[in-house]
């Protein structure tokens, strides 16, 4: 078995309203941190005043989130008494002596209606200054969501980047012959099954507003693309044309999707409205064109094509129709995903029979290989462009793994007795 770090066993009722209709999945993903960043921010997270009143606290989850990012190191709070609960209680000298650059303190106070007022403050021990303070009034069932929000605030204040602890991920879990499309919190908790099938499911793609997921199902003896609402669980066919229908990708404004259809011969890229209408062919080639992915400005599509004799990544300018080849190194470069910061893209490259996730910068054309498995595939970038979730293999089983975009932080998400694959990182909550 693996060593699970800071995994609590509390399973609470559903958090996100969007998932009320979903059913709990059996296999919980647990996270293992494989490697850390070179430098980490030392931070002390003091249990909130009254936190022990509730079985599931908040600070433990905040600490787990920050640690998992690989950018933070927790400093022990034991022995500093009385425990500070407010900014003015924090004696910076005590914390600096322990090496903490920042301290998180807070209070929890039951309201009459069963809800709880949660206040927290982030204090810079160097300047004895409050960097952030927030108050939330929530039901205990929302403690996990609240903890993720607090972690997001801390992460953003101390790193300058947006936190992604409140986001969700989708992935396909395969147990025996059964395929499930699951949605979970970014830390793997609260997995909810939104589709179950005895035939393959693949290529989940989040709508930009996080309310819907497009995916490919082979339940009707061919690949068909569906769009499903997470709130209601209802779905509709997006593309069921003669031939194969696959590789859905949403435009950043949510008003179009790119799909690969073979209805006119060959695998070709089309745009389609979310209701299945307005089908428009974007490219005409005698080669394979597939795996489209929009750039964050919505102006271009990255895609895979074998027009040059081997599969490579190309970019189509949707306005001019111009096509530009982006990858030149190696004979197999596929599955491009644009990073949300607009600077480049991640993709899968084959070298020496191994498949690994790499990142390429548009401006410098520099390629960095980020992973070292043998069958790494299906990369998906976090909304802050800092982490890449991908499918890997361990002991003959599919697992999910994450790597930071600089290659330094590595994590694995493992579910017992389950093949996990096809991860898709959801958008920032609105």
């Amino acid at each position: 078995m693996f060593r699970f770090i800071r995994v609590t066993r509390w399973l609470f009722p559903l958090l996100a309203l969007a998932l009320l209709a979903a059913t709990p999945a059996r296999a919980q993903l647990t996270i293992e941190i494989v490697g850390g960043a070179g430098t980490t921010i030392p931070i002390a997270i003091v249990p909130f005043e009254n936190e022990g009143t509730w079985p599931l606290g908040i600070t433990g989850i905040v600490g787990a989130d920050l640690t998992r990012s690989g950018l933070f190191r927790l400093v022990d709070y034991a022995g500093i008494l009385p425990r500070p609960a407010r900014t003015e209680d924090v004696k910076s000298g005590d914390w600096r002596a322990r090496g903490a650059d920042a301290v998180v303190v807070g209070t929890m106070r039951p309201q009459g209606d069963g809800r709880v007022e949660v206040r927290f403050a982030l204090v810079d021990t160097g300047r004895q200054a409050e960097l952030a303070a927030m108050t939330y009034v929530v039901a205990p069932a929302q403690f996990r969501a609240t903890a993720h929000k607090i972690a997001d605030v801390i992460y953003e204040k101390l790193t300058g980047d947006v936190g992604v602890f409140s986001t969700r991920i989708a992935y396909i879990a395969k147990q025996g012959r059964r395929y499930q499309l699951n949605v979970a919190e970014a830390d793997g908790f609260n997995p909810q099954t939104v589709v179950t099938s005895n035939e393959p499911l693949l290529s989940p793609a989040w709508s930009p507003d996080g309310t819907r997921i497009a995916y490919v199902s082979m339940e009707n003896k061919k690949p068909i693309v569906y769009i499903q609402s997470l709130a209601s669980g209802q779905r509709q066919v997006l593309a069921n044309f003669r031939g194969s229908n696959s590789a859905p990708a949403w435009a950043p404004d949510g008003r179009k999707l790119a799909v690969t259809l073979t209805k006119d011969g060959g695998s070709q890229i089309f745009l389609i409205n979310p209701d299945g209408g307005g089908v428009q062919r974007m490219l005409t080639s005698a080669s394979i064109d597939t795996e489209a992915n929009f750039t964050p400005d919505g102006q271009s599509l990255l895609f895979t094509s074998d027009r040059g004799g081997s599969p490579q990544i190309y970019r189509l300018n949707l306005r001019s129709g111009a096509v530009e080849r982006l990858t030149f190194d190696g004979s197999y470069n596929v599955s491009a995903r644009a990073t949300p910061d607009g600077k480049g893209f991640v993709f899968v490259r084959r070298e020496g029979g191994r498949f690994n996730v790499a990142i390429q910068d548009y401006a410098t054309r520099q390629v960095q290989v980020l992973t070292s498995g043998s069958l790494d595939e299906s990369p998906s970038v976090s909304p802050n462009s800092k982490l890449i979730l991908y499918a890997s293999e361990q002991g003959g089983r599919g697992i999910l793994a994450a790597v930071s975009s600089d290659g330094r932080v590595k994590q694995r998400l493992v579910a017992p007795a389950t093949d996990v694959r096809e991860p898709a990182w959801g958008p920032l909550p609105r």
Binding site: E219, V237, S267, G276, G396
Partner: protein
């Protein structure tokens, strides 16, 4: 030589049975808004959360008991065409099988067929769907040259999702790079 005799017999049989054996010639149309709206859970038994719908649509039973498609002695019982690594070229050893099926389609214009392309496990899932599609398209092209019509054959791909051999070696990969011939209604 024996194969050709069987093909001739099959053709004669099919012609003879044509009036009684006709399957509903479900044309494989492009989707319409109505079709999209009516899409329920499929025959593959997929279910989505939050839906109370249980209207699983069954598929019709296969061709009649006398169908040459079911005769294990007929070349028409051969349903798999294998491919070399990274190749879409139909190898000579499969020409006779493809020819027999093409002639069956020619003799039975109401028959409909799906060619299901597959790839081995290496590489991207979506790119492998495109590779499998290229293989099923190659077989279709040949069948058209040999007498089948365009509308009789739908080509699809399962990529690497449905391997025949779950292994991870050369032998398994060779078994999985294939096109499967499936008649509609089977």
């Amino acid at each position: 030589m024996r194969n050709w005799i069987i093909v001739a017999l099959v053709a004669a049989f099919v012609v003879g049975c044509k009036s009684t054996e006709t399957q509903p010639a479900a044309p494989i149309d492009e989707q319409t808004p109505a079709a999209a709206a009516a899409a329920g859970p499929g025959a593959g038994g997929a279910s989505t959360s939050g839906t109370g719908a249980s209207g699983v649509s069954g598929t019709p039973a296969g061709a009649g008991a006398m169908s040459p498609l079911k005769d294990p002695k007929s070349i028409l019982s051969k349903r798999i065409v294998y491919f070399d690594f990274d190749s879409f070229a139909v190898k000579d050893e499969f020409r006779s099988v493809i020819d027999a099926h093409a002639k069956y389609l020619q003799a039975n214009r109401s028959a409909r067929m799906t060619l299901q392309g597959h790839a081995d496990e290496r590489g991207s899932r979506e790119y492998n769907i495109a590779l499998g599609q290229k293989r099923s398209d190659a077989v279709k092209k040949l069948m058209q040259l040999l007498g089948a019509t365009e509308m009789q054959i739908e080509t699809v791909s399962f990529g690497k999702e449905k391997p025949r051999d779950p292994g991870h070696d050369e032998a398994a990969w060779a078994e999985n790079r294939r096109v499967e011939i499936v008649y509609v209604g089977e």
